[in-house]
């Protein structure tokens, strides 16, 4: 069986990453993965696009060199180069896109633009051979919250998305309210372990038992109301002088509300479309409470979550998606560029029959 070897490059936000991945048409094999995280953004409480773009430019050559060396390869041995071209910070994306284009030009290799969120769909398959379509995907990060039905690689039905804050963004904002560092996911999870789940039982946003398939909010999510509820709880605790003792309880209440909502909507989607697998992706997928709750509630549905290095932004998932696209013969204009937002490629009509019961929305 022919093996396709792809060099992946990822610069969509604040991680500079490169990876070499092999694909034989059914299984992905990660030969190397190098990720350089730009810690400087912690000082700002969020990513500063101009600083991120500048750091990608100086980080890319050593990161790509290390990935090629770790794979015991050289750029000549790759069949293609895959690079994230959307969505993300345009200035940051442009650095990776043009570095990749130059590599392709210099080596006579095709350059495959990859949608960052499609990359997240492939991440788990790099370490779990069974995490392949058909499955229901929940992609949750600081920038995105998407619920997607995946009948096959390259074919996607967008079922639901956040209407306001992304789940990871909500973690970051609530962490700030509780005086925790950025990014907020891990600090909240750690603090919540000692919290009483009954003390602050926040409403589960956009989740009602009466919702039916076809309702506009059946799969969609929303976290801004929950964030406001946390803000009010924090203010009330401050006024009562109990904030210090309530911080862990508030963190637990917030995390439980997010987790319960994500689990319920994901399993709704999986059952509605007859899927036997759920694949998690994105930085929030590292949350242990989310993984545990999903597995508890999933019953006979298998739940796959990537390791932290593959859950957060990384080039291995870009190389994997690029390898699939390359083998599928996706044609690419050499003048492709970077885009802050772009629809996922291969979108199917969400109302089309998925092989079982059809979703009736969108």
């Amino acid at each position: 069986m022919t093996i396709t070897r792809v060099l992946g490059i990822e610069t969509s936000c604040d991680e500079t990453s490169a990876s070499v991945v092999e694909y034989d048409g059914s299984t992905f094999s990660q030969r190397s993965l190098v990720i350089l995280s730009q810690d400087v953004h912690r000082l700002f409480g969020g990513v500063v696009p101009e600083i991120a773009s500048r750091q990608h430019l100086t980080a890319l050559p050593p990161v790509v060199r290390a990935a090629i060396q770790e794979a015991d390869a050289d750029a000549r041995c790759c069949d293609a180069i895959a690079v994230t071209h959307a969505p993300g910070l345009v200035g940051a994306l442009l650095v990776g896109v043009h570095f990749a284009k130059a590599l392709g030009l210099a080596r006579g290799l095709p350059v495959v633009p990859v949608h960052h969120m499609e990359g997240h769909l492939f991440a788990t398959a790099l370490e779990h051979p069974d995490a392949v379509p058909p499955f229901t995907a929940l992609l949750v990060s600081g920038g995105h919250t998407l619920l997607i039905d995946v009948p096959a690689w390259g074919e996607y039905r967008l079922l639901g998305r956040t209407r306001d804050d992304a789940a990871g963004e909500a973690f970051d904002k609530v962490a700030k309210l509780l005086g925790l560092p950025y990014p907020g996911g891990r600090p909240i999870e750690e603090l919540a372990r000692s919290g009483d789940p009954a003390r602050f039982a926040f409403a589960r946003p956009m989740l009602r038992r009466s919702q039916q398939p076809g309702d506009p909010d059946y799969y969609d999510l929303s976290f801004s109301g929950l964030k406001t509820a946390v803000l009010l709880a924090v203010r009330a605790a401050e006024a009562a002088g109990t904030l210090e003792e309530d911080r862990a309880h508030i963190a637990r209440g917030f995390q439980d509300a997010v987790v319960d909502t994500l689990v319920a909507k994901t399993l709704r989607a999986a059952r509605q479309h007859g899927r036997e697998r759920v694949v998690l992706g994105g930085g929030v997928a590292c949350n242990g409470a989310l993984q545990a709750a999903m597995r508890r509630a999933a019953a006979s549905i298998a739940v796959f979550a990537p390791a932290p290095r593959l859950a957060t932004d990384n080039a291995a998932m870009i190389a994997a998606a690029g390898a699939f696209r390359f083998r599928a013969g996706t044609t690419v204009s050499p003048s492709f560029s970077a885009h802050a937002s772009l629809p996922l490629p291969g979108m199917l009509d969400a109302t089309a029959d998925s092989g079982t019961r059809a979703s009736s929305r969108r």
Binding site: F44, I51, L57, V64, L94, H98, F99, A102, L105
Partner: protein, 235 residues
């Protein structure tokens, strides 16, 4: 960083990529001997305005193909090193780095404002003293004193600075003022690299650490440093 095949300037062919403004340009230069003047093999203008930065790579590909060259046939790269548009500079630098990385080519970082002295129809920039100014936004300009020698070598003639626009004439101090404005056709041009002597002052640079001279810090960094009274720590 590759082991350098020479200790002084390259002979050619050399690809020059300049994009300090949205009026990007590229050129292929070569010469028979290091003592010879550069010859422009070919050049092209690439309008990168309105988000058309995607045109630069195909233009480079076409320029090389037109000269019967591939990147493997280059002996060095030169890149406009700013100051100028942050994004345009980075695109040129990313392309330069990618080509250099793939082919172990040395990179020369040419000050962009030195490439903006207009040439006469007879050829070459007129000898004299100049102050080249590029809009730096917020009422300021990047200003670079430049000297053109009688034998038409373009040299740095003092430290570059960011000055208020209204102080340009005073800063020029009798030198001819060259204000870069894409609309009037006055902007850095890659082929003007041929007037910069043997380039030994401009490289080769260390590929990994090199970045363009942006001329300004990121605004968030300026505020952070003002608030904390110290430089932003390295990431």
């Amino acid at each position: 960083m590759p082991t350098l095949p020479f200790s002084v300037a390259p002979i050619g062919p050399v690809l020059v990529i300049e994009a300090a403004t949205s009026a990007g340009s590229i050129a292929l230069l070569e010469r028979e001997d290091r003592a010879d003047p550069w010859r422009v093999v070919s050049e092209a203008a690439v309008s990168m305005g309105s988000g058309r930065e995607d045109l630069l790579t195909p233009a480079i590909s076409a320029l090389l193909a037109g000269a019967g060259l591939s990147p493997a046939g280059l002996s060095a790269l030169a890149c406009g090193a700013g100051p100028g548009s942050f994004t345009s500079l980075r695109i040129a630098a990313a392309l330069t780095k990618g080509l250099a990385f793939s082919r172990d080519l040395p990179v020369f970082a040419l000050p962009s404002l030195l490439l903006a002295i207009p040439s006469t129809p007879a050829g070459g920039p007129p000898p004299g003293r100049y102050l080249v100014a590029l809009d730096a936004l917020r009422g300021e300009c990047f200003a670079q004193p430049v000297a053109v020698t009688p034998d038409q070598r373009v040299l740095v003639d003092g430290a570059a600075a960011r000055v208020p626009r209204e102080a340009l004439a005073e800063t020029a101090d009798g030198a001819a003022l060259v204000e870069i404005a894409v609309e009037t056709g006055v902007h850095p041009v890659a082929s003007a690299a041929r007037w910069l002597g043997d380039w030994s002052s401009y490289g080769p640079v260390a590929l990994d650490g090199w970045e363009p001279t942006y001329g300004r810090l990121a605004e968030a960094q300026v505020k952070w440093e003002a608030t904390h009274g110290r430089p932003l720590p390295a990431s």
